[in-house]
């Protein structure tokens, strides 16, 4: 980190399309490459990183498309910062007005916080199958309206059969829920501790974060759908066509690995609302930036589905915090996980409160 270059700390200079010349980009690229080289060990790896950095810089400078952007998990903090500000500019231009009026779109790449592993509880005795969570999730996470993508699928099951997925009905549509003799099982990503989906990815485009959230790098996914095949919970969804969200329905608070708009041909999934649950941390104090937004003390906001559930069937919290509600549930209620025999070790716990 010996080389310091004025361009490097001034993303605005190359961002301005008019002042952006090929020379600017080349300069930026070489400067990034130069910065990264000294601390790398193997020269080939160094070359690759440098190439990736150069490519990222080039793409951010809007001199090329994002085709050559490197893998997210291997980018430096500075590269991430630049990519994100590039995306913000792009989205702000595309969606000047959104569901929160004229609020400017922000994209973060908030990393996992130490001492936090998220867990989810769903009370099967309370869920009435109203699907409010499904639509809250669609709105919050900018899921495509056409073709329709829904990360939460609510299954209608018969009480007498128990958890028998092979006789479930995801398309139940009675005039009124709940129906007698039926119960409802909402399924989304189970955020497995031993996820089969990340293991099969041929290009490491999906992985488990330190706080337990399984994420996808939409810019690295090749769309082979092996993870969709490998997921035992049907939690992964593919963009079979260009996803569309009406401008006025866009949720402006975005996370790079979460609800930012996706593209055609990549896989997406529930991230426990990563943009909400990972509280933005104030860089100077190291404390959560916006106190008023927090549902979980000191740890960000609840996922949209937890907030939306009209019967309070959904619970969320930090599994490592002994005083959290989720820990209380795990210690005091009858809990089950789906397809336990597959050893996926979900962090999504179904429970019976009464």
């Amino acid at each position: 980190m010996t080389v310091k270059h004025p361009l490097f700390d001034d993303p605005s200079r190359c961002a301005d399309a008019r002042s952006c010349t090929a020379a600017d980009c080349a300069e930026r690229a070489s400067c990034q490459a130069g910065q990264r080289l000294p601390k790398l060990q193997a020269s080939r790896r160094g070359f690759l990183k440098a190439t990736a950095a150069a490519a990222a810089a080039l793409s951010l400078a809007r001199c090329g498309k994002d085709v050559f952007q490197g893998r997210f998990s291997e980018l430096s903090k500075a590269e991430v910062k630049e990519i994100i500000s590039g995306l913000e500019r792009e989205y702000r231009k595309k969606y000047p007005v959104n569901r929160k009026g004229k609020q400017l779109i922000t994209v973060t790449a908030e990393p996992p916080q130490p001492g936090v592993v998220f867990g989810y509880g769903l009370d099967l005795t309370r869920c009435i199958g109203c699907r409010t969570c499904v639509h809250a999730c669609v709105d919050e996470n900018n899921q495509s309206r056409k073709p329709q993508i829904q990360w939460i699928k609510v299954l209608e099951l018969e009480k007498r059969r128990g958890v028998d997925l092979m006789h479930s009905d995801p398309y139940y549509n009675p005039p009124k829920v709940p129906e007698p003799g039926k119960y409802y099982l909402p399924v989304a990503c189970q955020q497995c501790s031993n996820p089969p989906c990340t293991r099969v990815c041929p290009v490491k485009a999906t992985w488990k974060e330190k706080d337990g959230i399984v994420v996808v790098d939409y810019n690295w996914c090749i769309g082979c759908r092996y993870c969709v095949v490998a997921c035992p919970y049907g939690a992964r969804h593919f963009n079979w066509a260009e996803p569309t969200v009406p401008e006025e329905e866009i949720e402006p608070n975005m996370h790079y690995l979460g609800n930012r708009p996706r593209m055609k041909g990549v896989v997406e999934k529930c991230t426990f609302c990563i943009q909400r649950v990972r509280a933005p941390v104030d860089q100077r104090t190291g404390k959560p930036a916006a106190e008023r937004d927090q549902n979980i003390p000191g740890k960000g906001r609840y996922p949209a589905c937890v907030e939306a559930c009209p019967v309070g069937a959904r619970k969320f919290g930090n599994l490592l915090d002994p005083k959290s509600e989720i820990r209380y549930i795990l210690e005091n209620k009858r809990v089950l996980v789906l397809k336990e025999e597959l050893n996926t070790r979900p962090k999504f716990y179904y429970f019976y409160a009464t």
């Binding site: 041929p202 290009v203 090749i222």
Partner: protein, 409 residues
């Protein structure tokens, strides 16, 4: 100089041919063009032009990929007796097995490419510039072994043909170790492809250890079935000599492989039906349909009946040595295994889906057109390579030390 002559002469061989040859090439080119247009539509609109959906995320493309890996692996059926047992008559046809393997792998790469949602990012699968998820992802391993197998067969075939071109004898010190290496590699490409499926606990239909041996057994019938038919075409259309004995020997090997394949299938059926667990629903869907959904019942039974009938034809020496019944058997084996390893493997594995929903998949026109285009491209490659190899081994096209010109016959 000599390389240039080899290269230019090869291109010339491809461009010059009889009327039948031109008609065949034009027919294939038309199919390729049709596939290319369909693929262009798929790329611009998205994979929504296929009938695959989240419930059935893989379909015809991956089914064909799986089948063709088997065809490529089957080149070893010819290599094993030729080199390990030093069985003369087969040796001269090994080169065609290798050319078939090269074409089949090329088609495999094409099928994977058309299946992925972001073909612009296919370089993420390349070594060094991309980054494969090794050792965890079986798909990553498949890329590795298929690439190696492709390069190995391409090297052997090119070397043999080039040596014939220069009129020199090939060096056994180079060829034999490479050929011997291709045997375990052929087994590995099909084993790894089977592991692609059998390693997925979310799909009980595939999650069976018997899958890899079954893959090998069925491949060792379908690949040679194609070879037996192609050899007869070559015999008729060129002056290439292929002994009857060689063809019958291949047919005999196919009978053993088919018996093993059906035995392993029976073992799987016993286990599923006798234990009668929740997992039986996938076999039920394949063979009888579930709750009125029965889109693949007829193809699956057709495949099974074809395979049993072909086994009978190939077991009886008289029908094995009769050209009509032999060819009927070959067609039945080829189609039978094509259905079994294609739709018959992929679709019941995914239907019902992991949450019990039944979405009935059947290929769309786009998928059928793209598939036809890829097969045409593969056959085109095979035709060109056979044309070059054939004219060299027959001495029609040889190295001219002084200047290029029509070879003396």
């Amino acid at each position: 100089m000599i390389y240039a002559q080899f290269f230019l002469g090869s291109i010339k061989r491809i461009l010059i041919g009889s009327k039948v040859y031109y008609a065949w090439v034009l027919f294939l080119l038309a199919l390729v063009l049709m596939g290319a247009f369909a693929y262009y539509d798929q790329v611009t609109t998205g994979l929504i032009t296929t009938r695959m959906r989240d419930q059935v995320p893989w379909g015809l493309y991956i089914g064909n990929f799986t089948f063709l890996v088997g065809v490529a692996a089957a080149a070893v059926v010819l290599v094993i007796p030729a080199y390990i047992y030093d069985w003369g008559p087969i040796k001269e046809i090994v080169i065609f097995g290798e050319l078939l393997a090269i074409s089949a792998i090329a088609m495999c790469f094409l099928f994977v490419t058309v299946d992925i949602g972001r073909p612009d990012r296919v370089w993420h699968l390349f070594p060094i510039v991309g980054g494969l998820n090794l050792p965890f992802s079986i798909l990553a391993w498949d890329v590795v072994v298929l690439t190696l197998y492709f390069l190995l067969n391409f090297s052997i075939a090119t070397y043999l043909v080039y040596k014939a071109f220069t009129g020199k004898k090939y060096s056994t010190k180079i060829v034999v170790p490479l050929v011997l290496l291709s045997i375990p590699l052929a087994v590995s490409i099909h084993t790894v492809t089977a592991f692609l499926y059998s390693g997925i606990p979310a799909r009980p239909f595939w999650n069976a250890s018997i899958l890899a041996p079954r893959f090998l057994a069925s491949a060792f019938c379908s690949g040679p079935a194609l070879i037996v038919m192609l050899l007869q075409v070559l015999r008729k259309t060129t002056s290439f000599k292929i002994q009857d004995e060689a063809i019958w020997k291949v047919a005999e090997l196919m009978a053993y492989a088919m018996f093993l394949n059906l035995f392993l299938f029976g073992a799987e059926i016993f286990k599923e039906y006798y234990s009668d667990t929740h997992h039986l629903i996938f076999h039920e869907y394949a063979f009888f349909g579930v709750r009125g959904h029965n889109a693949i019942v007829i193809p699956v039974w057709t495949a099974l009946i074809f395979q049993i009938a072909a086994l009978v034809l190939f077991l009886i020496p008289r029908t094995r040595k009769n050209w009509i019944t032999l060819n009927i058997g070959c067609v039945m084996i080829y189609l039978g295994v094509y259905i079994e390893k294609g739709l018959g493997l992929v679709i019941p594995g995914l239907t019902p889906d992991v949450l019990g929903e039944i979405y009935e998949y059947f290929p769309s026109w786009t998928e059928l057109k793209v598939t036809a285009g890829i097969y045409a491209a593969g056959f085109l490659l095979f035709t060109f390579m056979v044309k070059i190899a054939n004219s060299i081994t027959l001495g029609e096209f040889q190295f001219e030390p002084k200047r290029e010109g029509p070879a003396q016959q």
